[in-house]
């Protein structure tokens, strides 16, 4: 497989004016992230709310510039070769998590879809663009398209907005789409249809996808055969194939996550089930300590976990955990 995008030692910090804390603080959101996206590949990002998935997705598509680290597009550092930066920009699309903010409120759906296509393909006649817009709206299940063209974003339901955003991304013929929770507000039946469409775009057109989600069941459905990165506090703690990770999670965080997935069975008392974590207390991004960032919540943490952690390879899965023997013993 050909490499499309590679991230190397990415760090992302946000400045935070600490009014309560009385001093300037830096929020360290991403910590030494390394990632390769190949052509035609599907990668899933899962992980805790606030762990940096959206931030990482934005770095992949160039909407954010990392504080430290390099981004390569087809092997070229995008900040060193101008021509590759241009090609890169037109090859990646981002479907925002917040579909409410993604669409300009004073523009109709038609205008929101028309402008970016026109921008990219100046020579394309209006009629052709119009056809394209209709085609893509119907592709994402917004049928009949005419009913939506002249509406404003606030006149659409949550799920309809999400689909407009997806249609817009697809209409620009990208090589990679980073889709941040693209189907979270859509009913399950339609979710499956949209994921099927994304799968088709992947297999027929070879578009790569990064699917950011909290829904492991849809991740398994959409990306079965693809890769998965499990993130915790700005680090990739487990990196392997979707199948391996879901059927045999290694990192204690991944295990807790998978055990918390609700199931459809009103006869099972799921409420009294405890999640295997020491505490719900979230870790701190401001004063990071050396050593494992999951330490305080991990059921298996030992003193040695306060030393710097290294990835270990288990089968084909990379796991950021220094006490895997401990985890496995107590399994």
């Amino acid at each position: 497989m050909n490499e499309l995008i590679r991230l190397e030692n990415i760090y992302m910090n946000f400045e935070k004016s600490g009014k309560i804390l009385e001093k300037e603080k830096v929020v360290q959101v991403l910590q030494d992230v390394n990632l390769t996206i190949n052509e035609g590949e599907i990668t899933v990002f899962v992980g805790e709310s606030g762990c940096g998935k959206t931030t990482l997705g934005k770095i992949v598509v160039g909407l954010l510039k990392p504080s430290k680290g390099n981004v390569y597009f087809k092997g070229q550092n995008i900040n060193k070769t101008l021509s590759s930066k241009k090609e890169y920009k037109s090859s990646v699309q981002f479907v925002q998590q917040d579909s409410y903010a993604a669409l300009n409120p004073v523009r109709t759906i038609y205008q929101s879809l028309f402008a970016p296509i026109k921008n990219q393909r100046r020579e394309m006649p209006k009629g052709e663009i119009d056809n394209k817009i209709n085609e893509y709206l119907e592709l994402v299940g917004l049928k009949p398209a005419e009913q939506f063209l002249n509406k404003f974003p606030h006149q659409l339901s949550g799920g309809q907005r999400q689909r407009v955003c997806l249609a817009r991304a697809v209409s620009l013929d990208p090589k990679l789409i980073v889709a941040d929770e693209p189907v979270s507000m859509i009913d399950v039946s339609l979710r499956i249809s949209i994921l099927d469409i994304m799968k088709r775009l992947n297999t027929e057109l070879g578009i790569s996808f990064i699917y950011i989600t909290h829904d492991l069941a849809t991740a398994n459905y959409f990306a079965n055969g693809g890769k998965m990165c499990v993130m915790y506090l700005g680090e990739i703690v487990e990196d392997g194939t979707v199948q391996d990770i879901i059927s045999n999670p290694r990192h204690p965080y991944t295990r807790a996550l998978i055990s918390a997935i609700p199931i459809i069975d009103p006869d099972v008392d799921q409420l009294s089930k405890e999640i295997p974590l020491k505490t719900m207390e979230i870790g701190n991004l401001i004063d990071r300590h050396i050593g494992c960032s999951f330490y305080s919540r991990c059921l298996y943490s030992k003193e040695k976990c306060l030393n710097p952690v290294e990835y270990v390879l288990v089968g084909n899965t990379k796991v950021l955990c220094c006490n895997l023997e401990g985890v496995n013993d107590e399994k």
């Binding site: 804390l21 805790e48 709310s49 606030g50 507000m185 009913d187 399950v188 039946s189 849809t218 609700p262």
Partner: protein
Amino acid sequence: MEHIVEFKNVIVEYQMKHYNLRAVNDFSLKIPRGKITALVGESGSGKTTLASTLLNNVSKPGKIVSGEILYYGGDSVYNILDLDSKKLNQFRWSKISMVFQGAQNALNPIMTIFEQFYETLKVHRHDITEEEAEAICIQYLELVNLDYEKVFKAYPHELSGGMKQRVMIAFSLLLEPSLIILDEPTTALDVIVQDYIFKLLKKINVELKISMLLLTHDISVVSKYADYVAVMYGGKLMEYGSVKNVFTQKRHPYTKGLIESTPSLDKDIDSIKPIPGNPPDLMNMPSGCVFHPRCNKAFSACPITDPKLVLLENGNHLVKCLLYKGGDDNE
């Protein structure tokens, strides 16, 4: 059973330039007091529109064309639509609060989280001091498992999707209302935080007897946390009953399709299929039963007769489908 609100033949239309779109079509239902009732249904089926009638704030150009929305206060019953704007302002947040879909959208981008809490508190408690407000704000942020030091003085853009959702949940609890409407409250939360939040909501529900109306697409969440479930399709109520009855018996073919198309980790991927066909075109509704064009059980009468809601023999279970005649269970 006691009820908290009742929808009586509610019809809501969006009156557009060239057509009227009927988003809620003759909807009647009593919502039980002190319970968690889920409202599920297709994207665009009218869930958000219906919920917003409870605060009489259907978005423009929507209009409640007819019907009543009764609120059962301790000793008085009144129609929410009869409240004047001053009474309505007092009513919102203190009696019924709403966590809006796309919480991102509901927060003011140019105010810090604390300023927004303070403002809401001041509307209802004029003499509250900043210190008092601060203490309350911190208490509620901690309740939803946020690191208050980080969130308190933050602007919305500094927070992740899931952090904003939790801020909105904290907001909705602030004045301890009798009914909380949660519109897709956990779409940006990982399953561990989601579980924490729902267990918390359940505790609040049980201890403070606060009723909840949960709008969601997440069928497994409904199965795990809700007591009752209403299923909507094309602006109409299709099925209603206890979660246990509805999930184990799945009387309406639409409900059945919805539950069976839900992906889960233990299902074979190839067995997951969307419901065939397209969502109804609200401007050009099918005759008879709105679901008949997509229904695998449809027979000759379905395109002609719009079924009545019938009460099944097991008590509190309503179904709108010609397969059922009510009284006893004659499929």
